[in-house]
């Protein structure tokens, strides 16, 4: 029963926030504004889907902000160098580079037994360094195909922004994987009790690498979306983004000790932050105060979670 209350809290929070903003501002509840909010939050939502797998499995990935930049510039450079490959070539390159970084993260934690916090902290620095090196610290802007611009700013049927379409596909696929497939089940088992999962015959190491790779693939995808919106490959994009993504998972009910969390929760967590920021902008709240508001939201969400946990502990 309390689990159910806990599960719907982020949804209730998001709904309440939307209602309040619809009443106090006249710009919030417009197609244009909502479409913008969703378009801008798509990369974070996509990365939160991958991060949910990592966090539910008991790990953490601090490298996603840097990997986003590296995969994004690699995808942009691929299109720039080989325009005939088009958008698909860029997407493929970005996703492959992201997946490779994720696989390395997973291998470091499994083979060298480095805690994921440290392994991905190292990757965070390395990926950023490589992104700056391959671009010579200059944004990639030459020779980019028209489809790249459309991907960032255009819409399907003129109403659904492309990033939103990709986001919906990722979220639905991710939620399905998490809930209904052995991969998702083993992710929970590994995060809940790694030893018990191992002693049940689960290939814990292999699944850990798959989980980090999945997070990397999705980060690469998000990277190209971000670069498309900017219509250039920016090696300095995504600084600090890992914290936004982790916050989304945690606000959505994920536990950093593993074994808990859902994709939908993380999506709502990401949207909650995006809508809150949008609300601040519409209400003319200054940029600095926005940071306070987001910090307060993170702390309040986890405090509430802990409170419900304590109440439930006596059961």
């Amino acid at each position: 029963m309390k689990d159910k209350i806990k599960g719907i809290l982020p949804f209730v929070g998001l709904a309440l926030l939307c209602i309040v903003l619809s009443v106090v501002t006249d710009k919030f509840l417009t197609v244009r504004n909502l479409s913008n909010v969703l378009r801008r939050s798509a990369p974070v939502v996509i990365m939160s889907t991958g991060m949910t797998f990592v966090i539910v499995s008991g790990g953490i990935d601090l490298s996603v902000g840097s990997v986003l930049a590296l995969a994004g510039v690699c995808g942009t450079m691929a299109m720039s160098a080989c325009p005939s490959a088009g958008l698909m070539g860029g997407l493929l390159a970005a996703v492959l580079v992201g997946g490779l970084c994720g696989a390395v993260n997973g291998a470091l934690t499994v083979a060298l037994r480095i805690p994921s916090f440290i392994a991905t902290l190292g990757m965070m620095s390395i990926a950023r360094g490589v992104a700056l090196m391959v671009t010579h610290e200059v944004p990639v802007t030459e020779n980019l195909p028209e489809s790249f611009v459309t991907f960032g700013t255009g819409s399907l049927f003129g109403v659904l922004p492309w990033p939103l379409v990709v986001m919906l596909c990722v979220v639905i696929a991710g939620a399905f994987l998490m809930r209904y497939t052995p991969l998702g089940r083993y992710t929970y088992a590994i995060g809940s009790n790694r030893e018990a999962a191992y002693h049940s015959g689960i290939a814990v190491s292999r699944y850990s690498i798959i989980i980090y790779t999945l997070a990397g693939l999705l980060t690469g995808l998000a990277g190209l979306i971000v670069m498309a919106r900017l219509n250039s490959g920016q090696p300095t994009e995504g600084v600090g983004m890992e914290l936004t993504v982790i916050a989304a998972v945690v606000i959505g009910g994920g536990s950093l000790s593993g074994g808990e969390g859902t994709i939908l929760g993380a999506v709502v967590g990401a949207l909650l932050m995006a809508v809150l920021l949008n609300g601040c902008v519409l209400l003319g709240v200054s940029h600095n105060v926005q940071k306070l508001v987001i910090g307060g939201l993170i702390i309040a969400a986890v405090a509430l979670d802990q409170y419900l946990r304590r109440r439930g502990a006596a059961d």
Partner: protein
């Protein structure tokens, strides 16, 4: 205080957790210098009652009187200042600090009010250790100590706080037999010094051996209390379960068939050497030995969790390579680990998920877990194994110990294992659940499974097994027929190894 006068008097204690009553109108008197055993099945309320005495929980009803004065213990520290200390199942020490630092944690001797007096800390610790002839050094870090030694540190910590009553919750569940003997000596010493001990245990042989008085709880109520001499073990068991258990070890009707699993010359470092044995279909083979004899290590090696360095494992006569649990599970070998909380269960996950974990493929159809089928499987095992308090969707950690154990057993039943390695399957579970586990092992044998039954309780090994292998310092030193041996003989082999003729 005169000998025999009540030190602690608990009257009409009641307690419920979220509407469920766990203690009803319980009285308990502990006199000065007595060893008072509190026994009962899991969930009977023993630990809850004593945690109320120790200030961990607040009673909903009743009163606590210490040496004639009514007390309230809002926090554990209040109970400690009234002279009541509790040693928990999960020990509460700071592992990175030294023995001396732990003994005086929160009461460190100081100079000028705030400077730690390290030399006095050590000298006073050394004096305490020597007074009690404990096998400890003040400067050792606690993380390097065995479970038994940690318990000694806890006892010294209680004594350093001038405790008059020490509550021990299942103190022998995690320590070796030699350490248990040492603990009994210390309990005698405490009694002679006028310190009372409340001893919570499942092990009735121990209780009979060391207790002066015995209180039996069942379903949160006190059902019997008296002098040790007033009870024999069958009587205690009858009070605990509320029914007569005439035949404690149920009889088995199993045909013993061909050799299923054969282990030849298995060795790994100093953990175990040249271990060879056979398990036949329908056979229950016991494995006895002291803690550290290498029994768990052998089971883990056969299961691939920590593979052996040399030796072979043969399944149906052909050598198999098992270097991970995954390979063992694919070959239908299951290991019920000795520590179900650490290596057995995913406590926050549903019962059904825990049950299907080793054979998820059986409820997967076209890459998708079929939720309804999984629920049916889980409910089937809940009914068959009588897993009380369980629903398929309820978190496994909310069940009592015995019922948690049944959830892990169900996992291996669902895998339909041909070879089952049971490592301490009845540890820390109540009498009723033990009997269910025995019954289940018999059913498995009757179905033609081969069972290896590791246990530190000799009566259950002799009562349940066809043969008993005895391990001593990493080797199998004896292979005896359970019907033709005695607990004394097995203990002798376990303690001193093979005696050269």
């Amino acid at each position: 205080m005169a000998e025999g006068e009540a030190f602690l008097r608990m009257r009409g204690i009641g307690k419920s957790f979220s509407g469920t009553s766990v203690l009803k109108d319980v009285d308990l008197d502990v006199t000065g210098g007595e060893v008072h055993a509190v026994v009962g099945e899991n969930g009977a309320g023993k630990s809850t009652l004593m945690k109320i005495a120790a200030g961990v929980y607040q009673p909903d009803a009743g009163e606590i009187v210490v040496e004639g004065t009514r007390h309230r213990f809002p926090r554990p520290v209040d109970a400690i200042s009234a002279g009541i200390a509790m040693i928990y199942q999960e020990l509460n020490l700071a592992p990175h600090l030294t023995v001396a630092e732990n003994i005086f944690l929160g009461r460190e001797p100081k100079r000028a009010g705030f400077v730690l007096d390290a030399s006095r800390l050590r000298s006073e610790s050394r004096r305490l250790i020597e007074d009690h002839r404990f096998d400890l050094r003040p400067d050792d870090r606690v993380l390097a100590l065995s479970a038994g030694q940690r318990q000694l540190v806890e006892i010294l910590k209680a004594l350093a706080a001038n405790s008059r009553l020490i509550i021990m919750d299942e103190p022998t569940s995690s320590i070796s037999e030699a350490e248990a003997e040492e603990l009994f000596r210390i309990i005698d010493m405490l009694r002679d010094a006028g310190v009372s001990v409340v001893y919570i245990s499942h092990r009735l042989e121990e209780v009979k051996r060391i207790a002066d008085r015995i209180t039996v709880l069942r379903d949160g109520e006190k059902v019997a209390e008296g002098e040790n001499a007033d009870f024999d073990i069958p009587t205690i068991v009858r009070h605990m379960v509320g029914r007569e258990i005439t035949e404690f070890y149920p009889p088995r009707e199993a045909e013993i068939g061909a050799v299923v699993l054969s282990v030849k010359g298995l060795s790994r470092g100093t953990a175990f050497r040249s271990v060879s044995f056979d398990l036949k279909a329908g056979e229950v083979v016991g494995m006895a030995g002291l803690v550290g004899a290498g029994r768990t290590e052998v089971a883990e090696a056969v299961f691939g969790a920590r593979p052996a360095e040399r030796g072979d494992v043969l399944l149906d006569g052909s050598t198999v390579d098992i270097s991970s649990p995954g390979q063992a599970v694919r070959r239908c070998i299951g290991l019920l680990t000795e520590d179900r909380k650490r290596t057995g269960l995913c406590l926050n996950l549903p019962v059904s998920w825990n049950q299907t974990l080793a054979n998820l493929g059986a409820v997967v159809d076209r890459f998708t877990i079929r939720g309804r089928k999984e629920q049916e499987v889980a409910q089937g095992f809940i009914d068959r194994l009588d897993i009380r308090g369980a629903r398929p969707g309820r978190a496994a950690g909310l069940l009592s110990g015995g019922n948690q154990q049944k959830v892990v057993i169900a996992r291996w039943l669902f895998r339909d294992c041909r070879v089952l390695l049971f490592d301490e399957p009845t540890r820390g579970i109540d009498v009723g659940a033990k009997r269910d586990v025995y019954q289940l092992i018999n059913e498995l044998a009757a179905e033609g499974k081969a069972v290896l039954f590791i246990s530190s309780e000799l009566p259950e090994l002799l009562g349940m097994c066809d043969r008993v292998l005895v391990m001593h310092e990493g080797r199998i030193v004896a292979d005896v027929r359970a019907k033709e041996t005695t607990a004394e003989e097995v203990m002798h082999y376990a303690a001193v190894g093979r005696v050269e003729a």
